[in-house]
């Protein structure tokens, strides 16, 4: 019988290179409830489903068989309707390839870029099992414990999603003239995980609003809801959507952070206002502090560019040629340009954008760096999207959402 090698995997009976896998946290029954994507190990553009990051705000619900699933659509519509999955799949389909990114991805870099200190790593991952165990106990970490944890990185992936444009479904039910937003409700239910929110802020010495037991819900402005790439998706990466990613059907909201991609969808309600959902009024907001009366809900991601080679951990580098490479994406449109600096931002050179460059997907970029002089180097990369936005776009906010700053790689050449 074939036995696993240390450095590789057995794949379909053959010895093969090791496959990238998520760093997962499991519940007491061995079920994955959270996970971080091995971003530094990925090739290609699409993240394998088994390596896709997992973040949940409430309890992961028990699975629902697709034949038992019914989507209720009501509110300010002419013809309220209940759709089975088979009904939904009769609509004209659409496939979108897009980055999914947790709003809190790379949150720790906000502090690092502004204040310095310990640099977060995309290799030394958080202990997701410790987080999962804490979650099962509804435990809340102290501020000191939070400061000793690794901050959230690698909560980003990219996939191909197939479903039906929400706009097609809304046309079928007919929108009333005063329709302003669409409220999505998932069948995941529970009390918000306060530890997640405290980690987001970086401290737990303040009181959070307790909404009690709720369903996950978000109220999307109508313009985004009617965008043809906003989908109700039942497929991911060429196969049926898996339970942990929201099966039978989830919302796909390209360009907007993961909290808008409502999983385990069970209800759609059309409203004449933006609802005060917990997860857009109290959490997933921009603001100066917990008591800021002018908190704004977050929507589109900023402009992002990360260096995946070399990493700080690769230092020291030998003199010679090195391929500086990474990925770039933007919440508002296609990436048009990536620039690289090897002198700490004094001078910049255009990187090569590897085809294809798609609107919602990340793009692989690279630059060949010839270095023959020993010393310390600071490599930086910045992206520009088709709307002309150059990173960084998102200012510091107390929940540290949508970080899109420029993070240098620090290496020594010997």
């Amino acid at each position: 019988m074939a036995r696993p090698e240390i450095e590789g995997d057995w794949v379909m009976g053959w010895p093969d290179r090791k496959r990238a896998a998520i760093s997962a946290g499991k519940d007491s029954q061995g079920r994955v409830i959270n996970g971080r994507c091995p971003v530094t190990q990925l090739e290609g553009l699409l993240t394998p489903t088994d390596a896709y990051y997992v973040v949940n705000q409430l309890e992961v619900p028990e699975p629902m068989h697709p034949d038992d699933w019914v989507l209720q659509i009501g509110g300010l519509v002419d013809r309220p309707i209940a759709l089975t999955l088979k009904d939904l799949m009769k609509f004209p389909g659409r496939t979108v390839r897009a980055v999914t990114e947790c709003a809190g991805n790379d949150a720790g870099f906000f502090d690092y870029v502004q204040k310095g200190g310990k640099k977060p790593s995309r290799i030394n991952q958080q202990d997701m099992n410790a987080r999962a165990a804490m979650r099962e106990k509804n435990a809340v970490p102290s501020t000191e414990e939070i400061s000793n944890e690794s901050t959230t990185t690698c909560a980003v992936s990219a996939g191909e999603f197939t479903g039906v444009p929400l706009a097609e479904v809304l046309k079928k039910v007919g929108l009333k003239n005063n329709a302003q937003s669409v409220r999505f409700q998932g069948f995941d239910r529970g009390q918000p995980d306060l530890a997640v929110q405290y980690r987001s802020v970086g401290r737990s010495d303040f009181k959070l609003v307790d909404p009690g037991v709720i369903n996950y819900e978000k109220g999307m402005p109508m313009a985004k809801a009617m965008h043809p790439d906003t989908l109700l998706a039942w497929s991911m990466n060429g196969e049926w959507l898996t339970h942990i990613h929201g099966a039978p059907v989830r919302v796909v909201t390209p360009g907007w952070s993961g909290n808008w991609w409502v999983k385990w969808l069970e209800q759609i309600e059309v409203l004449d206002h933006i609802p005060q959902c917990y997860y857009q009024h109290h959490y997933f907001t921009y603001g100066e502090g917990p008591d800021d009366p002018k908190k704004e809900m977050i929507t589109s991601m900023g402009v992002r560019c990360i260096i995946l080679n070399p990493l700080d951990e690769d230092s020291p580098l030998e003199r010679g040629s090195h391929k500086i490479q990474g990925r770039a994406w933007s919440g508002m449109g296609m990436i048009k340009r990536v620039e690289v600096s090897t002198d700490g931002g004094k001078t910049w050179a255009d990187a090569h954008l590897e085809e294809p460059v798609e609107r919602w997907l990340w793009v692989r970029w690279s630059l060949l760096w010839e270095v023959d002089k020993p010393g310390a180097y600071q490599i930086m990369a910045r992206a520009t999207d088709e709307t002309g936005r150059v990173q960084p776009q998102i200012p510091w906010n107390y929940q540290r959402k949508h970080f899109d700053g420029i993070v240098p790689t620090d290496v020594t050449v010997v």
Binding site: E62, P63, M64, H65, D67, D68
Partner: protein, 267 residues
């Protein structure tokens, strides 16, 4: 028709003896941490029997009941995934360390609370304790007829007809409903839970009742109410003797071996 199936969540009876330790002072058998637990196989067959009755009587409701701690929810989940409609978990610290008598008292009280049960099914015995008397105890406490060791069950009108397994054959007996039937393994393999039913199981209703919900005094159940006294718990001592049969020829060795085996009543 409403069928209640009493089931028990036990350490895997197929587990090696080395997976258990004995606490002689506490007079308990302690399963190793992480040892797999399963629904007692005879109880699983009782669920199967209930499902077969339902196939003949549309609209039948099947309730699975178990007595145990929170982990015993898994037994209910299994029964619900096989196709039962709802579950009852009897959980209370007062229920712990009971005997067959207090188990029967507790289950009988739960069945009474459920109300209007037509048929109560149990396994012929639990695969851990092997007492085999809880089913009969329930019948006695509820004043119901008890039919044991069923290999097939048929419900016809207001009566239940059971084919019983005997040491030397079988017999067919009948009783008026409501009745208690204990199910033997001859009824056949239990069905595997389908994916759809497994997913549905998580949404089927499960109620949790404690001693107070059942109107039972804490000193009437569990260890306090037990009538059986466990004097001691010990591992059986094993001794192995080996005899080398020597003879002048292989034929003579064979003859002597046969003689020894006859004496040992192996042949």
């Amino acid at each position: 028709m409403h069928i209640a199936v009493c089931i028990k969540y036990i350490p895997d009876p197929e587990a090696a003896f080395s997976m258990f330790s004995i606490d002689e002072q506490a007079k308990k058998v302690i399963p190793a941490s992480g040892l797999k637990h399963v629904v007692s196989p005879f109880d699983e067959q009782a669920i199967e029997a209930a499902l077969r009755v339902r196939e003949q009587h549309a609209g039948t409701r099947i309730t699975v009941i178990t007595l145990g701690n929170e982990l015993s929810r898994n037994a209910l989940k299994h029964g619900l995934a096989m196709g039962a409609d709802d579950g009852v978990l009897l959980a209370d610290a007062a229920f712990e360390d009971g005997d067959a008598y207090t188990t029967a008292i507790t289950l009988a009280a739960a069945l009474k609370k459920l109300g209007a049960i037509d048929l109560v099914l149990t396994g012929r015995q639990a695969a851990d304790g092997d007492t085999g008397v809880v089913g009969a105890g329930i019948g006695e406490l509820l004043n119901l007829p008890v039919l044991t060791f069923a290999k097939s069950i048929a419900v016809d009108g207001k009566a239940v007809r059971v084919e019983r397994v005997l040491d030397d054959g079988g017999e067919i007996v009948e009783a008026d409903l409501p009745a208690v039937v204990t199910v033997s393994n001859e009824i056949g393999a239990p069905r595997a839970a389908s994916l759809r039913e497994t997913m549905r199981a998580a949404r089927k209703p499960v109620v949790v009742w404690n001693a107070s919900d059942l109107g039972l005094e804490a000193n009437a159940v569990g260890a306090a109410g037990s009538r059986a006294v466990r004097e001691c718990v010990f591992a059986p001592s094993k001794s192995v003797q080996c005899e080398i049969i020597e003879a002048s020829s292989p034929e003579a060795q064979g003859a002597q071996l046969a003689q020894r085996l006859r004496e040992a009543r192996v042949l």
